[in-house]
Structures are given as C-alpha cells and as structure tokens.
C-alpha cells in the first residue's frame, strides 16, 4: 500500500480515538483512506475534515486534552499553519501525533518531495522554547510502525510527536506488515479533562502562567524532559560504519538513497558508511561524535539547502570536515551523484 495509506490504517490499528485533518497534496490519501474505511464502524474512531489546518490542530488540542489518542496530518504549508496549535500543545504538555508529508518550499513551493522543513520540525517551529519528538521513517513499513511508536512516546512524555516524512514516501507503494488491532483506551490519564468527579480536583489544560517565576519553572521542567529524551530515546541506524572512511548522514528518503550510494562507493573502492538518524529530535549526537573520530570526512545528504548539516556540525565539534550535498525544489538525488559528491568534497 501507499505510505500515506499505511499511516491511515496504522492509526486505526494503533487504537487512535480521532483524526482531524484538512486536504493538501501530497498527503490527502490519509484523510481519503480514513473516510472510505469508516473507522467509526471498526473501532469507534472519530474522523473529521476540518475547515482549515488551524482548526484541525486545535481539534487535536481539544481531543488530546481529554486524554485521547489523536492524530493529524498535513504537508509543509499546512504544517506552517499548525505551528500556533503545536506550540499550545507543547506548552500544555499534551500527547498527539502530527504527520508532515513534506513538499518543497518556501511559500506554496511545489507538490514534489523535499526535506526542507527540518528546522521547523526539530527546533520547535512555533513560538516559545519547546521541542517536538521527531521520527523520520524511510519506508512504508516505518510509516506504519511509527504511528504506534509515536503514540507511545507522546503519552510517555506528554509531548507532541511529529512523523517527518516526505511526498516520495507518502506516495510510494511497498509491502507492509500491519499490527493487529489494538483496542482503544478505556482508562484515561489522570490529568485529562474528562469531567470533574467529586473524588478529585478539577483538571485544567492551559499553557498560561502570568507569574514569571512560575513560567520559568515550567520552562525548566520542559527542558528537563527534553534532556531525558536525549538521554533515553535516541534512535539511529548505521550501515557499513565499521571501517568507513567517509560517512554519509541522511534521514528518510535521502537515507534510503544513500544505502545504494554506500554500495556504489564501495564498488569503486571508496570506504563509505551511513548513519541514519531515526529520531531527528533527539538527534544522535553521541554516535556521530564517536564516528567523527574515526572517519576522514562527513557528508550530510538532504533534500534541502542544508539544515540537518548544522546539527551534524554541532555534534562533531569540528573534529572532522563536514560538508553538505542537497537537491531542492522536489528533486530527489540519484545514488550516483551522491558518490560523486563524496569524490568532489573529499578525494581531490
């Protein structure tokens, strides 16, 4: 099935309580699939087409604040519209899953795949000091798997999770193994606004605190959560890094292509390896730093003008030369041109 359809089906099977969305290419199949599949008959899941991405993310806020598993999806321009809501969700410490099937930008840009929303996804995106947990799938299988994983992390940390994917993975068809149907939750978190019963104090979901000292305390609490994420939830994969002299760093679609580039490079006698961050926040700083001590050069490959490369440079602390190779505007790089880029940057 298509990556977008896999996300939709995975949401039903993860026991999601609701999806709120608004159509935008290249991710409309998620809403279309859910409407056609009638999950209210299968699990009781609510699916609603909102009047805008802004309304959709605020519906996510309302549902998440009731302690429910709520998911939304969009693509770059729509994700920009959701930033206000994401900031409120992060500031109210609500769990949810947000899928960004990235297309090229800025502005209306193109409907073709890109990875140009990295900064927005991993640095916060909206106003205020906050982070999303960002998962980067590289296959239709991971598109499906990361929905359930996303809910698990979102509820464990009371934090919004973004699945940062792109138009190529959204539209790509692959075989996918789907998990068995999980039942929807029947017991909700104790902070949820489910109606104040006499045995407890009222629950209030808000991100407002006019007392500066309290607001600072809350900011420090959020930062502690993010440090805990960095200590415990970093996920990454590596390919042929044991003896690598040149390291490619890439996520999502770019990582998929780089796997082929590693093989092509090795056929040419270039000892290449690949580190693929699976979580973009928290970023795999430690494994990168360790590899930086062993390799002669690092090439960050992204479908952007170079965003993740900044985090790679921060992680390696100047220990080794770090370069960037990217295509923009919806163009996907070929494995060959990435091998050429290794040569041009490091083998002159």
């Amino acid at each position: 099935m298509k990556g977008n359809e896999a996300i939709a089906e995975a949401a039903i099977r993860a026991g999601a309580d609701a999806y709120f969305g608004y159509p935008i290419t290249p991710q409309s199949e998620i809403l279309e699939y859910l409407m056609a599949e009638k999950p209210h008959e299968r699990t009781g899941m609510v699916v609603l087409q909102a009047e805008s991405e802004i309304a959709a993310i605020n519906m996510v806020y309302g549902g998440a604040a009731c302690g429910r598993k709520v998911i939304t999806s969009s693509s770059s321009p729509g994700i920009s519209l959701k930033q206000e809501g994401l900031s409120y969700i992060a500031g109210s410490e609500l769990p949810c899953v947000v899928v960004n099937v990235v297309r090229g930008g800025p502005g209306l840009g193109t409907i073709q795949p890109a990875q140009s929303d990295y900064f927005q996804a991993v640095k916060g995106g909206g106003h205020g000091d906050y982070r999303l947990i960002v998962l980067a799938p590289q296959s239709v299988q991971e598109m499906a798997d990361f929905v359930d994983l996303g809910f698990e992390l979102a509820f464990r940390y009371r934090n919004p999770v973004m699945i940062l994917t792109d138009g190529a993975l959204g539209q790509m068809m692959e075989k996918v193994w789907l998990q068995e149907q999980k039942p929807r939750m029947t017991i909700f978190p104790d902070w949820a606004t489910t109606g104040k019963t006499p045995d407890r104090e009222r629950n209030v979901i808000t991100s407002l605190d006019l007392d500066s000292a309290e607001q600072e305390k809350f900011n420090l609490k959020l930062q502690n959560k993010y440090r805990k994420l960095e200590a415990e939830e970093v996920r990454f994969e590596h390919t042929d890094t044991e003896d690598a002299e040149y390291l490619l760093v890439a996520y999502g679609t770019s990582a998929r292509i780089c796997q082929k580039s590693v093989r092509l490079a090795r056929d040419k006698g270039i000892k290449a390896g690949l580190l693929r961050p699976v979580t973009l926040f928290p970023f795999p700083k430690k494994p990168l730093k360790e590899l930086a001590a062993k390799v002669k050069g690092i090439l960050a490959v992204e479908m952007s003008t170079g965003q993740m490369v900044e985090d790679v440079r921060l992680a390696v602390e100047g220990k080794v030369q770090v370069e960037h190779y990217g295509r923009m505007g919806g163009i996907i790089p070929t494995p060959e041109e990435i091998v050429d880029a290794i040569g041009k940057n490091f083998l002159k």
Partner: protein, 264 residues
C-alpha cells in the same frame, strides 16, 4: 417584649434565600468592578449546579478578559488559543458526546480571529453551547477596536471613532450564524439589570438543555459593558450600553428550535 435579634440570629440555614453556587470557586475574580463577566460566570455556574452536571461539563475558555475563567469555575476546563475555542470544543464533544461542552468567548475571539472556527462549528451543527460576550472592545489588551465596535465609537485604535470607510462596519455574528442550518437556538441577552439577568440565565439553561436533543448548536450572545475600556463608571456604562448598543444589537431570541423568529 420582643426578643433582641442580632445579625447572628438571622444568618441561619433556614433563613437562607440565596447563596453562592458551589460551582464557583473561592478565587477572587480579576475582573474590573462593574464588569458583566462576573455575572455571566455566575449564571453559567448556577445552571451547572442546578442541572447537577458538574462532572458532565467541560468548558473551553478564550483568549481575552475571560482567559482565567478556569480559576473561577469548579469544572474541568481547557484554555484555547485565540479564536479556536469552537474547534477545541468540537473535538471534545465528538469524543465525549454525552458531556455538556461549552465555549465562552469575547467579540474579538469569536467574531474576528475565530470567525472561521465559529461559522464552521455552527454550520456543522456541533452539539455545543457558545456563550458570546459582546462588549464592543478588546478589554484585556487595553481597549482596542473590536469587530463589534459601533460606528463612531472611540477605542484606542479608533481614537476618533470607528470610521466606516477606513474600518468597516460592526459585525453582527449572532444574526449571521442564525442563518446557518446547523444552529438550533440563537439568542441575544444582557446582564445589566435584575430582569435581564433572570432572562439570560434562562437562555444559558436552554443552551445546556439543548445539548440533550443533539439537534445543533446553541449560541447565547450577552451584550455586556466594559466600563474600563469605555472609560465610564459602571452605572454610566450600563446606561450607555442600553442607549447605544441595544439599538444595533437588540436583545431577544433570534432563532428558536431551529427556526428564525418572525419567519415561517
């Protein structure tokens, strides 16, 4: 010889004719003395107590003067982003259809930044109640022009009075949403006299009761004063409201049981 009755002898449970509802907390309200918000809050709290739906009610507060409403009502509440309360309430009601869900919004929140969310929640016929406080001004940010500011009315961003050519006309959102098939009950009330308070309470109760019917959205507008923003005494502001606001925003029912009042 008559007994000597002191105040302590009078204040007894059996003599009580009125007391503060248990759904209001003891937190001192931050509203300016004379403002209508406190009365509107009390009426909502009283209705919740009388209907015995404290555990069955979720409220959504706006951005504006009523942003801290969750400090005053002893129910589960969510604080929405500016204008987004109807979207937030939509999700709560869809996920918990047996709960009573309401939003409480000012004119800037409901009729400017949240116009789309308001119209679409009304048009979908969400089974929620919207309580719309219209005082024709942005109170919390210091008295700027609102979508409902009257023509000629002065504010900090219309210091020479609202000029139709430059700033457009005041928006009658209540009449506008009454046209939509998704609204079941639309009314305009006030809380400036004992008689209007009693009527407003009935309307609020109706908006809660309607949620049992699942026939659509109920919107209760409460035309209110903002004595600080209008730079008047509380008494003068209520007089000014009746003389100037009511001709443009006339109190009364606009839509009953899904039918526009005065139309077939």
């Amino acid at each position: 010889m008559a007994e000597n009755t002191g105040i302590k002898d009078v204040v007894r449970d059996e003599n009580l004719v009125y007391k503060k509802t248990s759904v209001l907390t003891d937190k001192v309200m931050h509203y300016c003395p004379g403002c209508g918000h406190g009365t509107a809050h009390r009426l909502i709290a009283e209705v919740i107590e009388e209907m015995e739906i404290q555990s069955g009610t979720i409220g959504v507060t706006p951005v504006g003067c009523a942003v801290l409403m969750y400090n005053y009502l002893d129910i589960d509440m969510q604080e929405a982003a500016h204008g987004r309360a109807p979207a937030v309430a939509t999700a709560i009601k869809r996920l918990m259809p047996d709960k009573y869900v309401f939003t409480y919004q000012g004119d800037g929140d409901l009729a400017a930044i949240g116009t789309a969310e308001t119209i679409h929640a009304c048009n979908r016929g969400e089974n929620i109640a919207i309580f719309f406080i219209n005082n024709g001004i942005y109170g919390m940010t210091g008295g700027q022009m609102a979508p409902t500011t009257l023509l000629g009315m002065k504010s900090s961003t219309s210091p020479y009075g609202r000029d139709v050519h430059m700033m457009g006309n005041p928006l009658k959102m209540t009449e506008l949403v009454a046209q939509l098939p998704g609204t079941w009950y639309v009314t305009r009330q006030a809380v400036h006299t004992p008689a209007s308070v009693r009527k407003a309470k009935k309307a609020i109760r109706q908006a809660f009761e309607n949620q049992k019917l699942k026939k659509g959205l109920s919107l209760v507008e409460i035309v209110s004063n903002c004595n600080s923003g209008w730079k008047m005494s509380p008494v003068d502001s209520n007089k000014w409201m009746a003389e100037n606001m009511f001709p443009f925003y006339p109190p009364g029912d606009i839509k009953l049981e899904g039918k526009l009042v005065g139309k077939e």
